[in-house]
Structures are given as structure tokens and as C-alpha cells.
């Protein structure tokens, strides 16, 4: 007879920081191995592809700048999403909040642009943040008031926001001078964010926000209350936290940061409002925020790496003729592995030898 052996998972009392980090790195290495198999399926050499990807992201000064430009919206959106996720409020409405923030900022840039540049940009930033925040406040209000499922409401609102921008672009805001091309007029010079060291100042804003959000989450009362609500709503209630108010404030902030991204992208990257303004950042930021374990400093690192993955991904697309979708599959594979690895961070395994059920009972 074979002696039955079962492996049982037991929750670790306290996962060590170093151990957790090494497990996560191990997961990323495994993900790269799995991705290599996928690349082999495309009959390409994985090592070649990875080297070209790194070159594509960091190979020249120009490409480094491009990677940073891609990282800026990811960093800020991830920060916004992290605040919501920390509270277990599943804000997947980043796309819509970016679009609406962009819309509000664009209104001033296009129709009330008779201002000196510093004032113009300030107004646009405030408009973008306010609009994004208010857009996010709608699902937050429903959630706080009646417990309405925010995942679906925020997502549905993405579609509504994008249709709204589409309506403007193809309708009332369409530039008559664009010769039949459905496009909104470019912003005047005073509504374009200036450059610093060759990259638009969005990077400075992003760095400042990483610090601000870090302090907010870890060292303020509100930030702590958000974390408590996320851990257990009952504990929060017992501790006397005003849950409704905290939800509304946190999500307003979350949406406000996304709205700011909309302003930055319209002003500094697109020079106008368009349906492509979000570029899927609202969804990608969910991944980066989660990979970074919702920690602001890690969000900075993960977002840069992800931007490199995107930038390198589009480079290998041209070098090897790999379709865009392949990059999405790689993203999916990496995230699957990291998600799965959390289990090994939280649990350890013990091997239990069962002699027989009765013998085990007797031994107790």
C-alpha cells in the first residue's frame, strides 16, 4: 500500500520582506521563461527579442525620453487607482476619468484661452482634476449610499465618457479647418505644458505626486482610514470612521489624479483632445498598481518598467514584425505569474504523512 502523503498550505505568521521580494522576482523570471516559450512559438529567439526590447526602450537618448513620456500617465493613473484599491473600491474607470479630465481641460484650452501661460495651465490642471474627480464621484456616491457595485458602474462610465469625446470630435468641436478630417483643433501655445530637460514637465508632476501620495497613504489620518476601510469595513465602523465621507473623498482624489492625466496627455502629448487620448492607460494602470502592491514608490518603478515593456514592445514589433497583440499576451502572462506568486508569499507548505485517519486521531 502507498502511504498517503498530502501537502497542506498553512498561512505564514509574518511574511519576511526579503523572502516576499525574492518570491516575486522568481515569479517574474518564471513569467519570462513562459513568455520565452511563447516567443519560441513565433519561431524567434527569445534572447534576441529581449535584447531588442531593452534597446527599444533605453537604447538611445530619444528612446529613453519616449519611455519616460509613456511612464508619466501610468505613474499618475496608478497612484490614483492605488488610492481606490487600497480601500477595496475597484475603480476600473480610469479610462473614463482620464477622458473627462481631458475634456474639461480642453474646453478652457480651446474656448477660454485668452490667458497668460501659467494661469492657463493652472486653470486647465484644476479643471481636469475637478472633472475627473466629479466623474468618479458618481459611482462613489452610489457605492457609499446603496452599496452599488462600483466595478461595473465605473466601467460603464468609461464607455459613456469615450462616446462623449467621440461626439465632440465628430460633431460640435470638429475643426472646420481640418479639411474633412475628424479632428479637434490643436491647442494654442500657451496651453501646452513646457519641457524640462527634453521631456514635458509631467515628469516633475509625477515625481511630486509619488511623494505626496506616499505621505498621504502612510502618514495621514485620512490615508490610514482608507486602509482600515479596505481591510475591514466592520473594523472601520467600530473605530468610528465616517465611511461614506471617506469613500467620497478617496474616490474624488482617485478620479482627480486620473483627470490630471487627461489634462497632461491632451496638453503635452496630443496637443488636443481626441478619442485616442486615454490609450488604454486606465486599464494598464490597474496592472501596474497591483504589481506594485499599491505602494507609491514601487508604482514609480513598476510603471517605468511597464512603459519600457510597451516601448520595447512597439520596437520589436517593427524589428521582428510581431503584432501588437503579442505584447498584450506577454503582459497577461507576467501578471498571471505575479498574481499566482502572492500565494507563495502568504502561505507555506507542510507535508503531512497520514498513516491512517484513526492513528492520527490517536496521536493528537
Amino acid at each position: 500500500m502507498i502511504m498517503p502523503i498530502t501537502i497542506r498550505a498553512i498561512k505564514k505568521s509574518e511574511p519576511g520582506r526579503m523572502k516576499a521580494a525574492s518570491i516575486r522576482i522568481g515569479a517574474i523570471i518564471l513569467a519570462l521563461v513562459a513568455s520565452s516559450l511563447f516567443i519560441l512559438l513565433l519561431s524567434l529567439n527569445p534572447a534576441d527579442v529581449y535584447i531588442k526590447m531593452i534597446q527599444g526602450a533605453f537604447g538611445t537618448a530619444y528612446r529613453i525620453k519616449e519611455t519616460i513620456v509613456k511612464a508619466i500617465p501610468l505613474v499618475i493613473t496608478s497612484l490614483g487607482i492605488a488610492i481606490a484599491f487600497k480601500m477595496q473600491f475597484w475603480n476600473i474607470g480610469g479610462e473614463g476619468q482620464i477622458a473627462i479630465g481631458s475634456f474639461a481641460a480642453s474646453y478652457f484650452a480651446l474656448y477660454m484661452n485668452d490667458m497668460p501661460m501659467p494661469l492657463m495651465l493652472t486653470v486647465m490642471i484644476l479643471a481636469g482634476m475637478l472633472a475627473g474627480g466629479l466623474w468618479a464621484l458618481i459611482p462613489a456616491f452610489f457605492k457609499a449610499q446603496w452599496g452599488t457595485n462600483e466595478t461595473i458602474v465605473t466601467l460603464m462610465m468609461n464607455y459613456i465618457a469615450l462616446k462623449w469625446v467621440m461626439f465632440l470630435q465628430y460633431g460640435p468641436w470638429r475643426d472646420p479647418k481640418s479639411l474633412g478630417f475628424p479632428k479637434i483643433a490643436n491647442f494654442p501655445q500657451n496651453a501646452v505644458l513646457p519641457k524640462l530637460l527634453g521631456v514635458h514637465v509631467g515628469w516633475v508632476i509625477a515625481l511630486i505626486l509619488v511623494v505626496v501620495v506616499y505621505i498621504f497613504i502612510n502618514h495621514t489620518k485620512k490615508g490610514y482610514e482608507i486602509a482600515v476601510i479596505g481591510e475591514s469595513i466592520n473594523t472601520a465602523r467600530y473605530a468610528g470612521i465616517n465611511i461614506k465621507k471617506t469613500i467620497l473623498i478617496a474616490i474624488m482624489l482617485s478620479g482627480g489624479l486620473c483627470g490630471l492625466v487627461g489634462m497632461i496627455q491632451a496638453s503635452a502629448v496630443n496637443y488636443t483632445l481626441s478619442v485616442e487620448i486615454t490609450g488604454g492607460v486606465g486599464y494598464t494602470a490597474i496592472i501596474t498598481a497591483w504589481l506594485a502592491a499599491l505602494s507609491a514608490p514601487l508604482i514609480l518603478i513598476v510603471s517605468i518598467l511597464f512603459a519600457a515593456l510597451l516601448e520595447g514592445g512597439s520596437y520589436i514589433q517593427t524589428v521582428f514584425g510581431i503584432p501588437q497583440a503579442a505584447a498584450e499576451i506577454l503582459q497577461g502572462i507576467i501578471l498571471f505569474f505575479v498574481l499566482g506568486s502572492e500565494f507563495f508569499v502568504r502561505y507555506k507548505f507542510v507535508i503531512v504523512k497520514k498513516h491512517s485517519a484513526i492513528a492520527e486521531k490517536g496521536a493528537d
Binding site: I152, M156, M157, K163, P323, E342, R346
Partner: protein, 311 residues
């Protein structure tokens, strides 16, 4: 009258992919798993079903392949959330991202191709004798294609399964209170795996309806957010397969109402009409959550990973 019949007939056709996805998600959530990867699984089913249909010209194989593709996506989700207890929301979102990439990648050379003749012939409308002759109801309900009939059958069978069989009862117990179900000797892990896979297979079928019958051709992102509407429809239908039938056809109607309004010569921007299904979904969710009642609430343990050692 003719116009009303033709509208309702078309609403049922447009609602059928939603119906399959909604039924799939109902079964999944009944086992306590909130799988937000519906959109991804639908896309996987749409592409794989289309590819197999194109190459084999066999309806059975195409549908089988679509179900396997959807279940394959669900298997990734199930392994991550059931065995590795990963966060269900993030795992589901990842599945959608992965499924979208997978579908775009596998389907890149097939985009724009039309479903094969043999399949289109198989899925042409078929009048059911006697039932099809009932005034009004006949032309609306019983002069449909085989896939629509499959949808009727699927919701009735799932309803009977959930409410009239002991396995169905066990399943509901797993979704409500896995600890108690486990203590009663129900294999919780097995139930969760099987029903999450079955749910994925149904989502795959929903996707296949789009690429093989509804369009019938392969387009990029052929689901266009229907997977997400299905997730909302589950709440609308209060996790009940019979009500899912009604909800899916209602939203099918919303999906096609735009063309009809414009045909009537009413001047509304297409973009506002396109917003309708999403706005109605939000309204429905809010109303459902406002009048929260016991029977309207979902499975209690839905979204929470079950770990025997921690109960």
C-alpha cells in the same frame, strides 16, 4: 405590427450572445467566484470557434472549440483564484486583458473573413412547426436560428439544474457558505472548478455566436463590451437563469434600437444612442442596489476565496 415583430425578433438575436455570457457568469458566481474575465473568455471563444469553423466547416466542432477556449480562459482564472487564492477582481481583469490579446493575436490573419457557407446555412432561421404559427409570439420567438433555441434550452436547463437537482442545491450552498457546504461533505474545490469552467464554456459560446452567426464574420474586438454588460445583467437577473432570458433580450433590444430610431427619421446623434445600454446598465444597478432585498442579493460568499484552514 410588422415593425414591432421584426424589432422583437432582432432584439432576441442581439440578446443571444449576452444570454450565454450571462448564464455562464451566473453559474460561475453561484459557485462563489466573481470572474470579471467574461469579455476575455467571449473573445477567446469568438476567435477559436471561428477559426475551427472556417477550417473544418463543422458546426459541432466550431461550437465545441469555442466552449473549450472559454473554459480554457476560465481554467487560468480558476487555478489562480481557487488553488492559489489570488484576488478575484484582479485575476478576472487580467483574464480580460489576456483574452483580448490572445484573440487579436490568433485572429490577426482572419479579421474580415466571413463565416463559412455551411455554418451560415446551419444557423439560418428555422420555423418550429405549430409554435411558429402562433400569431405574434410565433414569428418573434419560434422563427429563429438554432443558436437562439439553444439559448432557450440553456437557460431552462440551468434553471432546473439550480433549483430542482441536488447538485444544483449543493452548488448554491457552496456559493452561500462554503464552510458549511464543506462540513456537509460537499467537495467545495471541485464544485468551484467545474462550475467556473462550465461558466467559461458558456461565455465562449456567447462569443462564438457573435463571430459565427450575428456578424457573421471576424472583427477585431467583436464583443464590443458585451462581456461587461453580461456581468451587470447577472445582478439585474438576480442570479436567476430564467430572469437572465428576459434581461438579455431587453438589452439586445437596446443594442439595436439606435438603427431603428434613425430609420424613423428622429435626429439623435449616434453617439448618444450608443451610450444607452451603458446608461441603462448603471440605472439598473443603482435601482437594484436601492431596493436591496434578500432574494435579490447575490451568493453571499461570491468574491471571497475559500480556504478550509481559515474558516
Amino acid at each position: 405590427m410588422e415593425a414591432v415583430i421584426s424589432f422583437l425578433h432582432a432584439a432576441i438575436v442581439a440578446g443571444t450572445p449576452l444570454l450565454f455570457a450571462t448564464l455562464g457568469e451566473i453559474i460561475t458566481e453561484r459557485s462563489g467566484n466573481l470572474n470579471l474575465g467574461v469579455e476575455g473568455m467571449m473573445l477567446m471563444g469568438a476567435v477559436i470557434g471561428f477559426m475551427v469553423g472556417l477550417n473544418t466547416e463543422s458546426t459541432t466542432l466550431a461550437l465545441l472549440a469555442a466552449m473549450i477556449a472559454g473554459a480554457g480562459g476560465a481554467l487560468i482564472f480558476a487555478f489562480l483564484t481557487i488553488t492559489l487564492r489570488a484576488n478575484q477582481v484582479v485575476s478576472g481583469l487580467t483574464l480580460t486583458i489576456f483574452g483580448t490579446g490572445f484573440a487579436d493575436f490568433v485572429g490577426q490573419d482572419l479579421i474580415g473573413q466571413i463565416a463559412p457557407e455551411s455554418l451560415r446555412l446551419f444557423f439560418r432561421p428555422y420555423t418550429i412547426p405549430l409554435l411558429g404559427d402562433i400569431p405574434f409570439i410565433g414569428p418573434v420567438l419560434f422563427r429563429q436560428d438554432a443558436f437562439v433555441y439553444l439559448g432557450y434550452a440553456a437557460s431552462i436547463l440551468l434553471g432546473l439544474y439550480l433549483y430542482k437537482t441536488s447538485t444544483g442545491m449543493n452548488l448554491r450552498a457552496v456559493g452561500e457558505n462554503p464552510g458549511a457546504a464543506d462540513a456537509a461533505g460537499i467537495n467545495v474545490t471541485l464544485y468551484k472548478y467545474l462550475h467556473t469552467l462550465l461558466g467559461g464554456a458558456l461565455c465562449g459560446l456567447g462569443g462564438a455566436y457573435l463571430s459565427l452567426v450575428y456578424v457573421p464574420a471576424l472583427q477585431e474586438g467583436v464583443t464590443a463590451g458585451r462581456g461587461w454588460i453580461a456581468v451587470a445583467l447577472v445582478i439585474f437577473a438576480a442570479w436567476n437563469p430564467y430572469k437572465a432570458l428576459f434581461g438579455a433580450y431587453l438589452f439586445g433590444g437596446l443594442d439595436i434600437i439606435g438603427f431603428r430610431i434613425q430609420n424613423l427619421g428622429i435626429d439623435v446623434s449616434q453617439y448618444f444612442i450608443d451610450m444607452l445600454p451603458y446608461m441603462v446598465t448603471i440605472t439598473v444597478l443603482v435601482v437594484v442596489s436601492m431596493r436591496k432585498s434578500r432574494e435579490k442579493a447575490g451568493p453571499k460568499a461570491c468574491g471571497i476565496p475559500y480556504f478550509r484552514e481559515e474558516r
